[in-house]
């Protein structure tokens, strides 16, 4: 935010005034402030702040190391409270600020630290052995720990409360949320307090400030290690996401599915009151549940027509492949069972092992519900997303036979409480920024752009944020690139095509559906299948009309069968391109692929699912006929049932 709200301005101003009042006694001429010590400490603190900028043996020290508190606390133990308040000021004013506006943040930071140091100094003085009049000596050592710890606590509390205040005024955060993290910060401050005490003792000893400086080194190293640890953990998360994206490469119909299932699984787990580490594990389980699709030939995942029983069997191997892939990752111990069993059904008719009831691992039951829920509520190429309420109703109906009713109830409660915002994956850091995209989009050529139906993209994922870089090149369907209208229409229930159909014949269903949309829970297919048809037919119909994309946005068209317009439009363009040549450069599609990187495009671009052009002319040739490939398969399967 570039502009500081007036409330925050007033708040910061008050803090600065208060800090000035606190520090004022120290600058009076008769105060006897030891200016050398103040300057030295202030210099030390400023150096510590700046240290975060310099590289340390190849590892760049991360930015988020936080303020270096032991120096400040040593200052509060050594100096009078007013003088201690001055120590932090130069360092804070010179410090690095991550976000704009920089100067208000710096000033605020200085005032905040000064006030905290002032408070800590007073607490320390009140409890100190000699009434604060003399320095701490060896003789009062055990007792001297008490005022030091109390001072550190006071510092921590004042700092945290001031921080809450600025969050509330400037960021408009609710006070409860702002203060929620406060108790967790206490422990490090205790360590800082003890280090500060030791520092002040050594400072006053014959060995002088040099010895005191040595105390800082272990503290600095430990802060540095923690920062490294956090950085590495972030990197690890993005690697896990890269695993998930590897699946997206192969099965572009389900982009973002993994992340949403992870989110829904975590919601369920939170509602069930699981501990934090298990919640994390279940999130990973949801995230990675379809990882085994990497082992399924791409040809099958994208197959146009109905699958043969063998092919189906191959696809049903994906839980076992997934189990195999994550076998080497120790921390996914419990999540592995969920990956293996997420297609089991409560009544024992699932796969791979046909487990039933509570023999299915708990995580697997969670992930199964989350998987089905996301499959229903996200757009697919052959149908529009269902509204959340309808999906929950559907899940409720299937609870007991397919799903664990406990999980279904938990999901329903969690959605009531938190809502379902699939476009926001708040718990995940945003995808690696646009950095990868330009490089990978670059080699795309217009022809392939035109064929690659962007709308195959199931839409409301965070991945396709904003206009796709390549859309400017294609110019074919600029509007359809935007996932914009989709999320908004998600909950509004325009799914006129959907009606709670009668449960279809459930006999063979579990085997059939996964091949249609392997992520799509097989359990639902019997119930959902009748609903697909109305969506599907219109899905196909507009394929022939070239100019769809222009006015796609009001896709709540009178045509009840058109709710899924944003999805179907681009594919329609894709498929009709060679036929009716509506797009700029369709003819060059399959052959003219001079760039050797045509394939990079699909996995790179979040919205470039069409990958038929490059190396496979055969596939390209199929395109015209293959309109509604999935749907065709789905319809035939469903119809036969």
């Amino acid at each position: 935010m570039r502009v500081v709200p007036p409330g925050a301005c007033a708040y910061i101003l008050c803090a600065v005034l208060a800090a000035g009042l606190c520090a004022a006694p120290a600058v009076r001429p008769d105060a006897g402030t030891p200016w050398a010590a103040v300057a030295l400490l202030a210099f030390l603190y400023a150096v510590c702040e700046q240290l975060t900028r310099c590289p340390l043996m190849g590892h760049r020290a991360p930015a988020d190391m936080g303020s270096f508190v032991p120096v400040l606390l040593a200052g509060t133990f050594l100096l009078s409270p007013s003088a201690a308040a001055l120590v932090a000021v130069p360092g804070a004013l010179a410090g690095r600020v991550g976000r704009r506006p920089a100067w208000p943040r710096r000033v605020w930071h200085a005032a905040q630290l000064a006030l905290s140091a002032f408070a800590a100094g007073h607490v320390f003085r009140a409890l100190a052995p000699g009434g604060g009049g003399r320095p701490v000596e060896a003789a009062d050592f055990p007792y001297a720990l008490l005022p030091a710890v109390a001072g550190a606590l006071a510092f921590c509390c004042v700092l945290g409360l001031l921080e809450c205040g600025v969050l509330v005024t400037a960021e408009r955060m609710p006070a409860g949320t702002a203060c929620a993290g406060l108790p967790r910060t206490v422990a490090p401050y205790l360590a800082h307090g003890l280090a500060g005490l030791l520092m002040s003792v050594l400072w006053l000893s014959p060995y002088g400030p040099v010895a005191a400086l040595l105390v800082l080194l272990p503290m600095y190293i430990s802060c540095w290690m923690y920062a490294q640890y956090h950085r590495e953990r972030t990197a690890h998360r993005s690697t896990i996401r890269a695993l998930v994206q590897a699946v997206d490469i192969k099965d572009r119909y389900t982009r973002g599915h993994g992340e949403r299932v992870g989110r829904a699984s975590a919601l369920i787990a939170g509602e069930l009151g699981m501990a934090d580490d298990r919640l994390e594990a279940v999130r990973f389980a949801g995230l990675l549940h379809d990882i085994g699709k990497l082992g399924v030939p791409t040809r099958l995942l994208r197959k146009d027509g109905p699958l043969t029983p063998e092919e189906r069997r191959v696809i049903e191997l994906h839980p076992e492949y997934g189990h195999e892939i994550v076998r080497g990752i120790a921390f996914l111990e419990e999540a592995r069972a969920a990956i293996l069993h997420h297609h089991e059904r409560l009544d024992g008719s699932g796969y791979p092992y046909g487990l039933s009831g509570h023999r299915i691992p708990e995580f697997a039951r969670v992930v199964a519900v989350a998987d089905a829920f996301d499959a229903m509520t996200s757009n697919r190429s052959y149908r529009r997303a269902r509204p959340v309420e309808a999906a929950v109703t559907e899940l409720r109906r299937c609870a007991g036979t397919q799903f664990d009713p406990r999980m279904v109830r938990a999901l329903a409660r969690a959605i009531d409480r938190h809502g379902w915002h699939p476009a926001v994956t708040a718990d995940m850091p945003p995808r690696p920024p646009a950095a990868p995209d330009p490089g990978r989009e670059a080699p795309e050529e217009p022809g392939r752009e035109a064929t690659a139906g962007p709308g195959r993209d199931p839409g409301p994922q965070p991945s396709s944020s904003g206009p796709h870089p390549s859309s400017r090149k294609s110019g074919a369907h600029p509007s359809s690139r935007h996932p914009g209208p989709q999320p908004s229409s998600r909950g509004s229930g325009p799914q006129s095509g959907w009606k709670p159909g009668p449960p279809a014949v459930p006999d063979r269903s579990p085997d059939l559906s996964p091949d249609l949309s392997p992520d799509f829970s097989p359990d639902l297919s019997p119930d959902l299948s009748p609903d697909f048809s109305p969506d599907r037919s219109p899905d196909l119909s507009p394929d022939l009309s070239p100019g769809l994309s222009a006015d796609r946005s009001p896709d709540r068209s009178p045509d009840s069968g058109r709710p899924s317009a944003p999805d179907c439009g681009p594919p329609s363009a894709q498929e009709s391109a060679p036929d009716s040549a509506p797009s700029p450069a369709p003819p060059s599609v399959p052959e003219s692929v001079p760039d050797p990187v045509p394939e990079s495009v699909p996995e790179a671009g979040p919205a470039t699912p069409g990958r038929h052009s490059g190396p496979e002319p055969a596939r390209g040739a199929v395109i015209p006929r293959g309109r509604g490939r999935r749907p065709a398969g789905a319809s035939s399967e469903d119809g036969h049932r």
Binding site: Y207, I221, S222, I325, G328, S600
Partner: protein, 441 residues
């Protein structure tokens, strides 16, 4: 802080006593008794310890309270060690031992132990701290104990006589110079320790000494410097404030150790995840089973032969693990899992695709660059890419069951192509790495 190390060292001690023959020892005639460096080290430590014990038993223990406090500290530091695999697994124990060696006063009163007593206390406390681990069935770590005893002995020999004779007081006075002198001594000790460490691992693994030593020195900057600083501060703070300072000064170091441990844990997990990502290509049928892992291991060995540093080796390893990731986006792999030798065109495409995927994984940027450049001619590649290229093709030739099978003929094939495809230096390093592993025999 945890009372018990969470990670039981389940894995066998790395490069343990099973493989020392692989090194230079093999060249020695078998009839002679092996006088390898570890044996020398342990003998020296045992001799020093025996002398120290005898001396201490004869003289009696000076300042038993201080000795007990430091002994407890060292023992608990050893007890809190985490896994024998790590370079400095018990920084608290090490810092305590060094501080005891450099102790001259306690709370302003004289309290310096003699050299013999320092060694004896360090030895006894180290044994006491290791005993619970051995009782729990974990590997004892004689190397670290020997190193600790020798280092403490060294530091004490440098400091205690000077201090007790009063010479040090004349040199440095009692002020800041004294602190600086302590620091200097500690740095010296740490350097000696790093040298010991490097020599030890050279005799265990047979790797060249230079990179190993550089690795040890690099490790000194991290937890090693925290350890030295804590040692100095501990000695000074006890001298000023008495034994009460001990627990206070332990806290930052314990925090460092804890952070270090978590860092190592997340790194391990990270590596596992990357390995899984690499295995995904195998499960997808793009590459033969175990290919990525073999290439990564061999690349690392080759990189070590070439003298790469540890971060460089990590980059090399990650890139090697993920070098085939790009194949995942090929439409359909050839059945049977063997994609076979690729054309230059395909290679470049796989490389560029792979680089794009790798960029998303959050590994260092260098890894992605290496993967991207895999398809280029070697003169345009960075060194890790040349290594991976050679090792990749070696593995394909050697295990692929093609016309040339077996490591020797595969290596020959690489040598023949050094004109433009592979760098001769890399191929020779690969040959050396293979010979070291005994793969060519």
């Amino acid at each position: 802080m945890r009372a018990v190390p969470r990670k039981a060292p389940a894995e066998p001690s790395p490069e343990g006593d099973t493989r020392p023959e692989a090194g230079p020892d093999r060249r020695r005639p078998r009839s002679l008794p092996r006088l390898s460096f570890p044996v020398l080290l342990h003998t020296a430590a045992a001799l020093a310890a025996a002398c120290a014990l005898a001396w201490t038993l004869r003289q009696g223990i000076a300042y038993p309270g201080t000795a007990l406090a430091f002994g407890l500290l060292i023992a608990s530091g050893e007890f809190l060690r985490w896994g024998p695999a790590h370079r400095e697994a018990a920084p608290l124990g090490a810092a305590g031992a060094l501080a005891y060696a450099l102790l001259g006063e306690v709370g302003g009163e004289p309290g310096g132990p003699g050299v013999g007593q320092v060694v004896a206390v360090v030895l006894a406390a180290g044994l006491a701290g290791t005993a619970p681990h051995v009782a729990l069935g974990r590997e004892p770590v004689p190397d670290q104990l020997s190193r600790r005893v020798l280092c403490a002995g060294f530091a004490a020999t440098c400091y205690q006589p000077l201090h007790s004779s009063g010479t040090l007081g004349e040199w440095t006075g009692h002020g800041p110079y004294h602190a600086l002198f302590l620091l200097l001594l500690l740095v010296l000790t740490a350097l000696c320790d790093a040298l010991l460490c490097a020599l030890l691992s050279r005799s265990r693994t047979g790797w060249p000494l230079g990179p190993l030593l550089r690795e040890e020195l690099r490790a000194l900057v991290g937890i090693g410097s925290a350890m030295c600083a804590t040692g100095a501060v501990m000695a000074l703070a006890v001298a000023v404030a008495g034994l009460w300072a001990l627990p206070v000064i332990c806290l930052p170091l314990l925090l460092s150790q804890f952070a270090c441990r978590r860092y190592a844990a997340v790194r391990a997990t990270y590596r596992q995840t990357i390995t899984s990502l690499a295995r995904a290509t195998e499960i997808a049928g793009c590459t033969p089973a175990g290919h990525a892992r073999r290439v990564a291991e061999l690349s690392r060995a080759t990189g070590r032969e070439l003298g790469l540093s540890e971060p460089g080796l990590t980059v090399l390893e990650y890139a090697a693990l993920m070098h085939d990731i790009g194949r995942l986006s090929m439409p359909d792999p050839a059945p049977g899992g063997e994609a076979g030798p690729l054309t230059a065109e395909q290679r470049r495409r796989v490389a560029r695709l792979g680089g794009a995927v790798v960029r998303q994984t959050g590994v260092p940027e260098e890894v992605a660059v290496v993967v991207e450049r895999l398809g280029d001619p070697y003169r345009e590649q960075p060194l890790p890419a040349r290594v991976i290229r050679a090792v990749d093709d070696f593995d394909t030739l050697a295990c692929g069951g093609g016309p040339v099978a077996g490591p020797l003929s595969a290596l020959e094939g690489l040598r023949l192509a050094t004109a433009e495809t592979y760098e001769p230096r890399v191929v020779e390093a690969l040959a050396r790495a293979l010979a070291r592993n005994g793969a060519l025999l």
